[in-house]
Symmetry: C3
Subunit: 139 residues, 3 copies
């Protein structure tokens, strides 16, 4: 049994879904692990992770639209407002989605379904460099 850890940096340019499925498959391939478990972990609290459909980009538009409506800027009862109007909604959207995802690896590849891609879900308006940690264990 062996394991490998790798940190990737994802540049974001405002709110949206940034796919990084390729970076993950490359890491799995380079690990030379045939059967195992891959874990993806995001090191922030104002962006998050999501596995979603990567066929029709309209799905991403609607996901953004839904979360923007569910946790809009300007909710007048918020007390944490010093970091900008998009900060507390960003923490809320992060709390509603994922911080870590674990994916089985079989035959040297993740077992993603046909339509699945993995995304960094950026909730802040300004550009950021987001740090995502990858860990794989197996043989």
């Amino acid at each position: 049994m062996q394991q490998s850890v790798h940190s990737i940096s994802i540049p974001t340019r405002g709110q949206g879904l940034y796919e990084f499925t390729d970076a993950i498959e490359r890491f799995v391939g380079e690990s030379e692990i045939a059967t195992g478990l891959l874990t993806v972990f995001v090191r922030h609290t104002s962006c998050s992770l999501l596995i979603q459909e990567n066929a029709d980009p309209d799905v991403q538009t609607d996901l953004l639209g839904f979360f923007r409506r569910l946790a809009p800027e300007g909710m007048d009862w918020l007390v944490h407002t010093t970091e900008g109007p998009d900060d507390m909604p960003a923490h809320i959207k992060s709390a509603l989605t994922l911080t870590s995802i674990s994916i089985p690896v079989v035959a040297g590849q993740t077992v993603f379904g046909t339509w699945q891609g993995i995304y960094l879900f950026e909730h802040r308006r300004r550009p950021h460099q987001r740090s995502v940690m990858l860990h794989i264990i197996g043989e």
Copy 2:
């Protein structure tokens, strides 16, 4: 240290929670791993995973009712509508719940609490065959 991977297929007959705790315990038992980590991963983006109370079925009724109200069919701002009125709400509900769950295994069993069961949360109206991947590592 050893590991095992297994794919299970869960038939669904419309929106609802489908418990498959038994299938998981069977897989853990057959692996003969006493201490380890079990990971459950769903290979779709319009159904998801949930650990919830398996005592009173009313809990499931209310969970369905809540998510139906939170992401109802017919939201008039949606752009992804070609796959039916229940498709985009399904992606939203998936984004709000879980794609993978990892559960420690002790004494040859998952450490589920007394009232916990694991469910496939189907968000589409039509029947589907849903693919769930199980991975266990330990010894």
Copy 3:
């Protein structure tokens, strides 16, 4: 490769976020595993897990405020009401947040970002003793 499992008990005194980052780091340190994967699993369905900012406590106040508004007590369509007005909202809030979180371990520490802390998110009003299972694998 080695692994270790540990159960911790977190006392709660009503709805709120209870940080237990220290307990996790202590477990990782005592395991003497330098590189590996830590998994945290909560054994209940009316409280949950969350990784969030641990700098400004106002973030926690607003997270509580958001979830209380999203799933308030007294929704008149609920059918599961026998365990008190805060019980079904608690199951809903649990479904919207996390039951398990996996965190890579590097150089004998979790790879938490600067502002990340891990919390037990209590959704019930009365005091509880909450059971959280920790599992680490690595070497």
